[in-house]
C-alpha cells in the first residue's frame, strides 16, 4: 500500500509540473502583445511598460518560466492586474462559496441517485426502473445551462418558492445545487444500478439468499458493500465535472465562487488571475483524484498490483 501511495505521489508531482507548464504557456498563446490586450489600446505607454515589468514579460521566456514555477511552489500566483491584490488571496476569498455549492450539489446528487439506483436494481425492467432510467438519461443529456434557467422559470418566477440569485441562506443554495447536481445524480444512479445488478448476479449473493436472509438484508448488507467500489470512483471523477460545471452554474445564479472569479478574470483580460484560477482548480481536481485512487486501492487490493 505504501509503495502504491509513493508511486502515486511521484506521479502527482509530475502531473502538477505539467499542469503548471501548460498554465504558464497560456499567456504566451495570446495572439499579439498580451500587454496591449490586457490594458486595451488606449493605455499609456508608461503603464504598459510597468505592467510588462511586473509580469516579467520583458525577460527571456526561460527566466519567466523558472520564476513562475518557483513562485507557484512558494504559493505566489502573481498579482491581479487592476485590483493589484495577490491572486491567491482573491482565490481563497471565493473558495467558501464554491465549496458550499459543491457540497450542496454532491448532497443532492447522492440524495437522488442512491434511492433511484437501488430501487431500479431491485426490480430491473420494472416500472420504477424504466422511469428512473429514462429520467437519468434525460438528466445526462440536459445541459445545466438550460436546466438552470428552466428551474428559475418554474420555481423562482412562476411559483415564487425559492430565491434564484446570489448567495445567502440555505434556500438560496437549493436551485444552484440542483442545477449542478442533476447531471451527477443521473450518472451516479445509472452506475449504482449497473454495479448493483452485477453484484446481485454473483454466487455469494445467491448463497446469502439461500441461507434465508431477507432480501433487504441481502441487498443492503452484502450487495451494497461490494458494489460501492466503482461508485466511489465515479463520485471522485465527477468532482471534476462539478468543478467545471460550477463555472456555468455560478454564471447563471451570480454565485460568487471560483467560477465567477475565473469568468470575471477572462472578461477583464486579467490573465494572472485566469492563470491562478485554472492552476488552483486543476490542482484541487488532481488531489481529489489522488484521494479517490488511494481509497479505491484500499478497498480493492487488486488495483495496487497494476
Amino acid at each position: 500500500m505504501l509503495a502504491y501511495i509513493t508511486k502515486r505521489l511521484i506521479l502527482l508531482i509530475f502531473v502538477l509540473y505539467g499542469v503548471g507548464t501548460i498554465v504558464f504557456f497560456l499567456i504566451h498563446m495570446i495572439p499579439g502583445d498580451p500587454v496591449d490586450i490586457m490594458l486595451g489600446d488606449s493605455a499609456v505607454a508608461a503603464d504598459k511598460d510597468e505592467l510588462r515589468k511586473n509580469l516579467g514579460l520583458d525577460k527571456p521566456v526561460l527566466t519567466q518560466y523558472v520564476s513562475y514555477l518557483s513562485g507557484v511552489v512558494r504559493g505566489d500566483l502573481g498579482t491581479s492586474i487592476h485590483s493589484r491584490e495577490k491572486v491567491l488571496d482573491e482565490i481563497l476569498e471565493r473558495v467558501p462559496a464554491s465549496f458550499e455549492l459543491m457540497c450542496g450539489a454532491m448532497f443532492i446528487a447522492i440524495l437522488i441517485a442512491f434511492p433511484l439506483g437501488i430501487l431500479s436494481a431491485l426490480k430491473p425492467y420494472g416500472f420504477t426502473d424504466t422511469v428512473s432510467m429514462t429520467v437519468s438519461f434525460i438528466g445526462i443529456s440536459m445541459p445545466n445551462f438550460w436546466l438552470g434557467p428552466i428551474l428559475i422559470i418554474i420555481f423562482a418566477i412562476e411559483l415564487d418558492w425559492l430565491p434564484a440569485n446570489e448567495r445567502g441562506g440555505f434556500f438560496n443554495l437549493i436551485l444552484p445545487a440542483i442545477t449542478l447536481g442533476t447531471a451527477m445524480a443521473a450518472m451516479l444512479s445509472r452506475m449504482i444500478r449497473s454495479s448493483l445488478l452485477e453484484v446481485l448476479g454473483e454466487d455469494f449473493i445467491k448463497n446469502a439468499r439461500a441461507r434465508g436472509l431477507s432480501e433487504k438484508k441481502v441487498v443492503l448488507k452484502h450487495a451494497m458493500r461490494n458494489s460501492m467500489i466503482p461508485v466511489i470512483t465515479i463520485i471522485g471523477l465527477q468532482v471534476g465535472v462539478l468543478l467545471s460545471g460550477a463555472i456555468i452554474t455560478e454564471a447563471i445564479f451570480d454565485w460568487p465562487g471560483l467560477g465567477s472569479l475565473l469568468l470575471d478574470g477572462i472578461n477583464e483580460r486579467n490573465y494572472p488571475l485566469v492563470q491562478g484560477c485554472i492552476l488552483f482548480i486543476a490542482s484541487i481536481y488532481v488531489f481529489v483524484n489522488l484521494i479517490t485512487d488511494i481509497m479505491y486501492a484500499y478497498a480493492d487490493p487488486r488495483v495496487r498490483l497494476q
Binding site: L11, F14, G18, I30, P31, F137, I150, V274, A282
Partner: protein
C-alpha cells in the same frame, strides 16, 4: 424496425399534426373547445401510432391489454405537455394553437413514442410475454437517434432554404415578440427570427461536433495504436502527456485556451480537439494491448508486412467498435461543450446564431420572454439526446456479449 419504418411513422405524425392544425384554423371554432379537441385527437392519434409500433413487437392480441395501460400514461404525458405549451403561449389567436400543435408534433411526439415503446417492452418482459433478447430495442434506439440526427443534418445543409427569415436581421421594434405565424418561434431581444437562427445554429453545432471528433479520433487512434503497439518509451511519454491533460477537469482547459485565443468558432474547435484526442488515445491503446497478444496479430507480424500495415489493417478493424461508440458519445459531449463555451461568451462571437449564445442571451430576458431561451435549449437537448441514443444503441449492439445473436 428499419430506419424507413421509423421515418414513415414520424412523417405521418408530423403531417397529422399540421393537417389537424390547419383544419382547426379553417373552421375557427371556439378556441377553448378546439384546444381540448386537439389534445384528445392528438392523443388518440399517438395512441394508434404506438399501437402500430407495439404490434410490430407482438403480433398477438392478448398482449394489447398491457399496452392499453401505457396508452393512458401516454395520454397523461401528452396532456401535461400541452398544458405546459399553453402556459408558455397564452392562447389569444388561432395561430398559437397551430403552433402548439406543430410544437407538440415536432418535439414531443418522437420522445413520447419512444418512451411508450420502451415502457411497453419492459412491462412485457416482466410479465413474461417476451424475452429480453426478442426486442430490437437497441436497434430502435439507434435508428431513433439516427433519424433525429439526419433530420438536423438536412436542416443544417438546407438552412438558407428552410429558414423563413435572415437570421442576422435586427428588428428592434419587434424585439421579444412571442411566436406568431410569421415568426413561428418568436423573436429574440434584437427582433431576429428565432426559428431561422435555430436552423442556422444547427450548422454551427454539427460543424463543431463533427470536426472536433474527426480531428481528435484521427489523432487519438494513431497515437493510441503506436503507443500500444510499440510500448516502451513512446508509450511512457504519451501516457504522461495524457495524465497531464486529464488533470484539467472537464471544460477547464478548453475555457482557458479559448479565453486567451479569443471567441471564435475555430478556436473552440482547436481547444476541444486539444483535449479530445486524449480519450481516444487511451481507449485505443487499451484495446491494442488486448488485441496485440492474439495469434492473428502474430501471424500478421510474421507475414513480412510493415508494422504500420499490421496496425491499420489487422489491429484497427478489430478495435473499431468501441471507438465508434466513443465517437458518438463524444459528438454529444462536444455539442454541449461548444454550447457551454458560447453560453459563457467564449465560443461563437456575439451575433452568431449559435444555440449556446442564443440561450445565454435568452436567459437575460427570462422574466419577460421565456420562449427566447426555451427553443435553443430544446434544440441542444434534442440533438444531444439523439447522439446519446445512437451511442447507447450502438454500444449494446456492438457489445461482444450480445454479438453472438
Amino acid at each position: 424496425m428499419t430506419l424507413k419504418n421509423v421515418f414513415e411513422k414520424f412523417t405521418l405524425s408530423y403531417l397529422f399534426g399540421i393537417v389537424l392544425a390547419l383544419i382547426i384554423y379553417i373552421v375557427d371554432i371556439n378556441l377553448k373547445i378546439s384546444s381540448v379537441v386537439l389534445i384528445l385527437s392528438a392523443t388518440l392519434y399517438s395512441c394508434t401510432t404506438y399501437g402500430k409500433f407495439h404490434r410490430y413487437f407482438l403480433n398477438k392480441d392478448e398482449k394489447t391489454i398491457v399496452l392499453f395501460g401505457f396508452s393512458i400514461i401516454n395520454l397523461t404525458i401528452q396532456i401535461l405537455m400541452m398544458l405546459i405549451f399553453i402556459k408558455v403561449y397564452p392562447i389569444e389567436d388561432p395561430s398559437k394553437v397551430i403552433l402548439i400543435n406543430i410544437g407538440v408534433s415536432v418535439f414531443v411526439h418522437p420522445v413520447i413514442i419512444f418512451l411508450s415503446i420502451i415502457l411497453a417492452e419492459k412491462q412485457l418482459i416482466r410479465k413474461g410475454f417476451i424475452k429480453n433478447e426478442d426486442i430490437p430495442n437497441n436497434k430502435l434506439k439507434k435508428d431513433m437517434g439516427l433519424f433525429i440526427v439526419i433530420l438536423f443534418v438536412v436542416i443544417a445543409l438546407l438552412a438558407p432554404l428552410i429558414a423563413t427569415h435572415d437570421p442576422k436581421v435586427i428588428n428592434l421594434p419587434e424585439s421579444l415578440n412571442t411566436p406568431t405565424l410569421d415568426h413561428i418561434m418568436g423573436q429574440d431581444q434584437n427582433g431576429s427570427d428565432i426559428f431561422s437562427r435555430i436552423v442556422h445554429g444547427a450548422r454551427i453545432s454539427l460543424f463543431t461536433g463533427l470536426t472536433v471528433v474527426f480531428i481528435s479520433s484521427v489523432v487519438g487512434i494513431f497515437l493510441g495504436l503506436v503507443s500500444g503497439f510499440y510500448g516502451g518509451l513512446i508509450d511512457t511519454v504519451l501516457m504522461r502527456i495524457v495524465d497531464v491533460l486529464l488533470a484539467f477537469p472537464g471544460l477547464l482547459l478548453a475555457i482557458a485556451i479559448v479565453a486567451v485565443m479569443g471567441p471564435h468558432i475555430l478556436n473552440v474547435v482547436i481547444a476541444l480537439s486539444v483535449l479530445g484526442w486524449v480519450s481516444f488515445a487511451r481507449l485505443v491503446r487499451g484495446q491494442v494491448l488486448a488485441v496485440k497478444e492474439r495469434e492473428f496479430v502474430y501471424a500478421a507480424r510474421t507475414s513480412g508486412q510493415s508494422d504500420l500495415r499490421v496496425m491499420f489493417m489487422h489491429i484497427l478493424p478489430n478495435i473499431m467498435s468501441p471507438v465508434i461508440v466513443q465517437a458518438t458519445f463524444s459528438i454529444a459531449g462536444v455539442i454541449i461543450a461548444e454550447s457551454s463555451l458560447s453560453f459563457l461568451g467564449l465560443g461563437a462571437p456575439p451575433g452568431t446564431p449559435s444555440w449556446g449564445l442564443m440561450l445565454s442571451e435568452g436567459t437575460k430576458e427570462l422574466l419577460d420572454a421565456p420562449h427566447v431561451s426555451i427553443f435553443p435549449g430544446a434544440a441542444i437537448m434534442l440533438l444531444v439526446i439523439a447522439f446519446n441514443f445512437i451511442g447507447d444503441g450502438l454500444r449494446d449492439l456492438l457489445d461482444p456479449k450480445t454479438e453472438k445473436k
